[in-house]
């Protein structure tokens, strides 16, 4: 039961199909013999059938929905049983007749009984059958009164016998009520412990713990919601129920098992991975070949583009040459034509004067020359350093025009010199970097260990810096942290130092200037009080780290991986990680070693986001019946309750030799028998024989027991049948006692159940 192993469990999706009822059409024939109609009215499921048969004809969820859906029908629709889930419109109207195991909603109860009699095929004017029906232990009189009223007045039944489901289940499994025993019965919302001796159920000593199967479901759901607050899908009640059904078990020794649950040797086989359905991520399905082909095609296209561009360039040059030729022809032909036609031609070319023509020819010539040299792949010829002949000539030796020219040259020379300086500077820097890289390489080749150690040290230094900045940033977000307080003090100081109070009185004591800003570092204060991270510095450090990582991955690839491994191990060894992620490999935010993500990894990554891990919950959830305090219920646990009952029944140790577990809820939990036996052994005197067993069929034996009892114990059946006469005479709450039923006293004097 604890060996599910590491397999991934795929959780169910959606609600189960409503079970089909086997309709019966022999109501009349069955009924004529006066065969009792047995209804096990359980709070989770209702079972109904004929007492002479082995199994109930009908078994369905005790739910009814009365609602309207205009698309389907103009009138009200009534659904009963599992089919309430078949129409989403009905969801808000689903009602159970039960509140904590006791029938309180008799409208829903009426619908359910309608369904039972309809499907069993009753077509008479009345339900002319003796009814055998289960009711809750210690049912409140009000509930029974309403039930009897419904049965006798609405359906006109001739008689009814009420009994306790778990006691009938005991009867079925023990053969009689003569054997002493202790019933531990669990339902959807409550669990009971009922002692059996003197051939009857002693409900006066019975105790109820208000926890059942749904308590486990609810508890697990809450735990999971808190454990995975960012889980991408809603966990439905069906899924929770399914998980409880499949994976919880009772720990034999809770504290011992709990203490080492998350230890690695246990976790491997106790942790359960639950996979929810997840959307498939879009994947890059191309093969190497495809990628190659695409790259080839792109290269081809680039080549074509280049060719086209070259052709275009060629065309342009030709055009330019033609233009040049035109202009030159004009210049040449200047001599032969008169001034008017020349001016006309100039205008045609968009030029205004002869001077502009020369300028145009010069610039066109330049363009053509440059283009041609480029086309031929030649370097533009070095023009040599530009000369500034006028700069050094004194002003008074120059004409005014030359002086203007000189001023221009001075500016040009300054620009030229600045550029030169920058270029030299750049070259020096490049040379220095090359030198550094060369030395680094040399050192790497000659003293590899030293080099590597140094690199690692520098890397961790940078990393520490980044980390420190992050921590500082985080701290700033907390108003009460030290960093925040320092910042606030700085702001206050700055404000106090700079703002003068009215009246010219400075707040600071010193009236003279505090020399703020005299040193460059003073200005750092503004950077310090800024809450934003300095993007430049961050980028610089990131780039540095990147560089170190590149070097390391080139020359010492194992190192980065070992770093990752260590980081992962650090995460995986924490209790919280094991608790939420089981034995999965940790995913690092920023792995040092680059990993290539293949498709399988991408899918696995997405799948993991839709995974839950059940570990401690597997024993924590069913433990609530032994420690109701876990869910804040102020009641004694199962063992303490059993112990109390043993004491009050005069320490009948014969009871513990026949502990009978039946019903749903906790009775279904694996390991509950062993746990009960171990716990009981710890409270009774040593050597007391103890036997704990489960009903052959914990869910259906109540019905079978009731059927068996009503046919086999004919006398008891007859004497405990409440007839219509009784109902009219003694009231709806009236009960005829029998061994498997509740006790009855007439209502105490003055008691009234109020208006119904």
């Amino acid at each position: 039961m604890t060996e599910e192993g590491n397999g991934v469990y795929e959780v169910v999706d959606g609600s189960p199909e409503p079970e089909s009822a086997r309709p019966s059409f022999d109501f009349a024939t069955m009924g004529r013999g006066g065969v009792p109609l047995v209804i096990d009215n359980g709070s989770d499921r209702c079972r109904a059938g004929w007492a002479t048969e082995q199994d109930p004809r009908l078994e369905f969820e005790s739910l009814a929905a009365r609602y309207r859906n205009r698309k389907l029908s103009a009138d009200q629709i009534l659904l009963v049983g599992g089919s309430v889930h078949s129409d989403p419109m009905a969801k808000a109207s689903i009602r159970s007749p039960f509140d904590s195991g006791v029938v309180t909603n008799f409208d829903a109860m009426e619908s359910i009984l309608d369904y039972v009699f309809t499907v069993l095929g009753c077509v008479d004017e009345r339900v002319d059958q003796p009814i055998v029906m289960t009711e809750a232990v210690c049912t409140p009189y009000t509930s029974r009164r309403n039930m009897s009223e419904l049965l006798f007045e609405c359906y006109n039944v001739p008689s009814v016998v009420y009994g306790i489901d778990s006691v009938w289940s005991y009867y079925k499994n023990t053969g009689s009520l003569a054997t002493d025993g202790l019933i531990v019965a669990s339902g959807a919302t409550a669990s009971h412990v009922i002692p059996i001796y003197d051939a009857r159920a002693h409900t006066e000593h019975c105790k109820r713990i208000n926890l059942g199967g749904t308590s486990m479901d609810e508890y697990l759901l809450k735990l999971l919601q808190l454990k995975y607050p960012a889980f991408p899908v809603k966990i439905s009640e069906w899924q929770t129920r399914d998980l409880v059904h499949n994976f919880v078990y009772a720990a034999e020794d809770y504290d011992k098992e709990l203490g080492c649950y998350l230890a690695s040797e246990n976790l491997a086989h106790k942790d359960v991975t639950v996979q929810f359905q997840f959307p498939m991520p879009t994947l890059d399905e191309r093969t190497e070949e495809d990628i190659q082909r695409v790259a080839d095609r792109r290269r081809e296209q680039m080549k074509k583009m280049h060719e086209m561009a070259a052709r275009k360039r060629q065309e342009k040059i030709e055009q330019r040459v033609q233009e040049l030729e035109e202009l030159t022809a004009l210049r040449e032909g200047r001599e032969e034509m008169d001034a008017d036609s020349f001016a006309q031609q100039l205008q045609d070319l968009g030029l205004e004067s002869e001077r502009e023509l020369y300028d145009a020819i010069a610039s066109a010539q330049q363009v053509v020359d440059r283009a041609q040299t480029k086309e031929l792949g030649l370097e533009p010829e070095e023009k040599g350093p530009p000369t500034f002949p006028l700069v050094d000539v004194p002003d008074d030796e120059l004409t005014s025009e030359q002086r203007q020219e000189k001023r221009k040259q001075v500016l040009l020379r300054a620009g030229h010199e600045a550029r030169e300086r920058a270029r030299v500077e750049r070259e020096k820097e490049k040379a220095r970097l090359e030198e550094v890289a060369r030395l680094d390489d040399e050192r790497r080749l000659n003293h590899f260990d030293e080099w590597l150690a140094d690199l690692k040290a520098r890397r961790s230094e940078t990393l520490a810096r980044i980390e420190e900045r992050r921590a500082h940033h985080r701290e700033l977000n907390d108003r009460r942290s030290h960093a925040s307080q320092v910042r606030m003090r700085n702001i206050a100081d700055l404000a106090a130092g700079e703002s003068a109070a009215p009246g010219g009185k400075r707040r600071r004591r010193s009236t003279d200037d505090d020399n703020f800003g005299a040193e460059d570092d003073d200005w750092n204060i503004y950077r310090d009080i800024s809450k934003k991270e300095d993007a430049e510095v961050v980028e610089e450090d990131e780039a540095e780290l990147e560089g170190y990582n590149r070097q390391l991955s080139l020359h010492a690839p194992d190192y980065l991986e070992s770093l990752d491994r260590a980081a992962r191990a650090g995460i995986e060894n924490t209790i919280m990680y094991r608790f939420t992620d089981g034995c999965e490999q940790a995913i690092l935010d920023k792995p040092a070693a680059q990993q290539k993500a293949d498709n399988a990894a991408i899918v696995a990554r997405v799948a993991r986001e839709y995974q839950l891990h059940l570990n401690v919950e597997r024993i924590r959830v069913p433990e609530i019946i032994f420690r109701p305090g876990l869910v804040g219920l102020d009641q004694a646990g199962l063992l303490e309750t059993i112990d109390g009952i043993l004491r009050r029944t005069g320490s009948r140790l014969s009871l513990v030799n026949n502990v009978f577990v039946t019903g749903g809820g906790f009775s279904q939990v694996p390991g509950i028998l062993g746990r009960l036996e171990r716990d009981i052994r710890s409270t009774v005197p040593a050597g007391t024989p103890i036997m704990v067993r489960r009903a052959a069929d914990p869910l259906r034996d109540a019905w079978r027991g009731a059927a068996l009892w009503s046919t086999r114990e004919a006398d008891a059946f007859r004497s405990s049948s409440i007839t219509r006469q009784d109902y009219l005479e003694f009231g709806g709450e009236y009960l005829r006692e029998h061994g498997a039923g509740n006790r009855y006293r007439t209502m105490p004097r003055g008691a009234s159940l109020g208006p119904q």
Partner: protein
């Protein structure tokens, strides 16, 4: 929407989508009462019911029912009434378990009252978004509710 199989025995294939207003007494007693795959019990005649029966009962939850019944008279001490069957509060010392992980919890955070297993869990507890600790406390019904 899975079609209910109810009534299929009586009318194998034609049963689907026939709003049944037939008198169930004629022929088979249970014709399908389905509309578009939904089994509407209201469309079946229920001759066994007393048409004059109309209950005046009001729906009350169990707590109200029990409280009223308990207050309505002097019930004998030894009578097995619903309220008497409730298991009494535990007299045993309660072990404390970590609210977050469920592991044994030797510590309690004085600020939030959350029980925790170790320093590591405490760090997680500190980092919880505001209000979440109340949800953890609500698990064992110990949350502070503001009225």
């Amino acid at each position: 929407m899975p079609p209910s199989k109810r009534g299929r025995k009586s009318r194998p294939s034609s049963a689907v989508d026939t709003p049944a207003s037939q008198d169930p007494r004629e022929g088979e007693p249970l014709t399908s009462f389905k509309t578009a795959g939904i089994s509407n019990l209201n469309e079946v005649a229920k001759p066994f019911k007393n048409t004059e029966y109309a209950s005046s009962r009001r729906w009350r939850n169990l707590k109200q029912v029990v409280a009223q019944e308990q207050a309505s008279g002097d019930w004998p001490v030894d009578f097995p009434a619903y309220w008497a069957a409730d298991a009494p509060p535990s007299l045993l010392p309660q072990k404390k378990y970590c609210d977050i992980t469920g592991l044994p919890a030797p510590y309690t955070d004085p600020k939030t009252n959350v029980r925790y297993h170790s320093a590591e869990v405490y760090r997680v507890l500190r980092a919880l978004p505001q209000g979440t600790e109340q949800q953890y406390l609500a698990l064992r019904n110990a949350s502070v509710t503001l009225k």
